[in-house]
């Protein structure tokens, strides 16, 4: 008979560490997908995922079973990604001289004729990652959750442990911050 998540968690808390493995197998794809959203390089992804699971094991006693285990785990994963972003925060004053050629071409095309640039192009995806790397960790997190993943503000607030008004304020500031980066990028080009 297959053991439920509650059984597995209870067994781990009683000292049976082996019962943790089915949980790792089941939820690792979601943890990796989230880590890839925030990591700058693929080499960081596994470190983040590993940290998430080790924290989950150590803090498992704080899981009270009021919400699904997945929600608890993803919130922990998000906090770990946020901590990782803050740890690796880079100087955001750098210019955009290091744009790759396809990115520059895409941006040129957009600035001359916005309708002709395709949002499905790889260059656009690389460019948005570059922009996200230049905004603050908080702004990046809010933009990712609220705009890219299109989560409701209530959920963003719940995931980050913020109040809804605070999440709204931070979303407003995040958009302003992203716009500032875009503005500088566009000015660096032609405007």
């Amino acid at each position: 008979m297959e053991r439920t998540e509650a059984d597995l968690i209870a067994a781990v808390l009683k000292g049976d560490a082996a019962s943790f493995e089915p949980l790792v197998e089941k939820y690792s794809p979601r943890v990796f997908a989230m880590a890839r959203r925030y990591a700058r390089r693929e080499s960081e992804v596994e470190d983040i995922a590993q940290e998430v699971w080790l924290k989950a094991f150590e803090k498992l006693s704080s899981f009270r079973g009021e919400a699904p285990f997945e929600h608890w785990l993803m919130r922990l994963a998000l906090r770990t990604c946020y901590d990782s972003l803050r740890e690796h925060q880079r100087n955001r004053e750098t210019t955009f001289t290091e744009l790759s050629e396809p990115e520059e071409v895409w941006l040129d095309r957009f600035l001359t004729d916005p309708g002709s640039s395709d949002e499905n192009a790889d260059a656009a995806r690389q460019l948005v990652n570059r922009v996200l790397e230049r905004i603050s960790p908080t702004a990046r997190l809010v933009i990712t959750l609220a705009e890219i993943e299109q989560r409701p503000m209530k959920e963003v607030a719940r995931l980050m442990g913020w109040s809804v008004p605070l999440a709204k304020v931070r979303a407003f500031r995040a958009r302003a911050e992203m716009r500032k980066v875009l503005s500088r990028m566009a000015k660096d080009k032609y405007l």
């Binding site: 808390l13 943790f20 790792v24 699971w53 957009f110 640039s117 949002e119 995806r125 890219i148």
Partner: protein, 104 residues
């Protein structure tokens, strides 16, 4: 304004770029190998178990004491009972301080 359009276009580009959920080979095994030495036990649960064990021990001692009280051989002097002995003990000091003919 172009800036708004650029913002929107880049957000749409990011939406189409779903991150992969691929898990490296043997990742769960590597996590499991790192667990020994770490603890997942709940300190409050351990405290609670300790309290229950102590409560069970106290209950057993209480039962043994009760049984011993009822079953032990009775060595009291004839004509005296526990209440009489208790009263004598309690007023012993008073009895010594009072003159023999004093009345209460």
């Amino acid at each position: 304004m172009k800036l708004n359009q650029l913002h929107q276009k880049l957000i749409e580009a990011a939406r189409t770029n779903l991150p992969s959920d691929a898990v490296p080979y043997a990742f769960p095994k590597r996590i499991m190998a790192r667990l020994p030495g770490r603890t997942a036990t709940d300190p409050w649960a351990s405290w609670s178990h300790a309290l229950w064990r102590a409560a069970a021990t106290c209950f057993a001692i209480m039962l043994l004491s009760t049984a011993w009280t009822f079953l032990a051989p009775h060595h009291a002097a004839p004509g005296t009972d526990l209440s009489q002995e208790f009263e004598n003990t309690l007023v012993a000091a008073v009895g010594q301080d009072q003159p023999a003919d004093s009345a209460w």
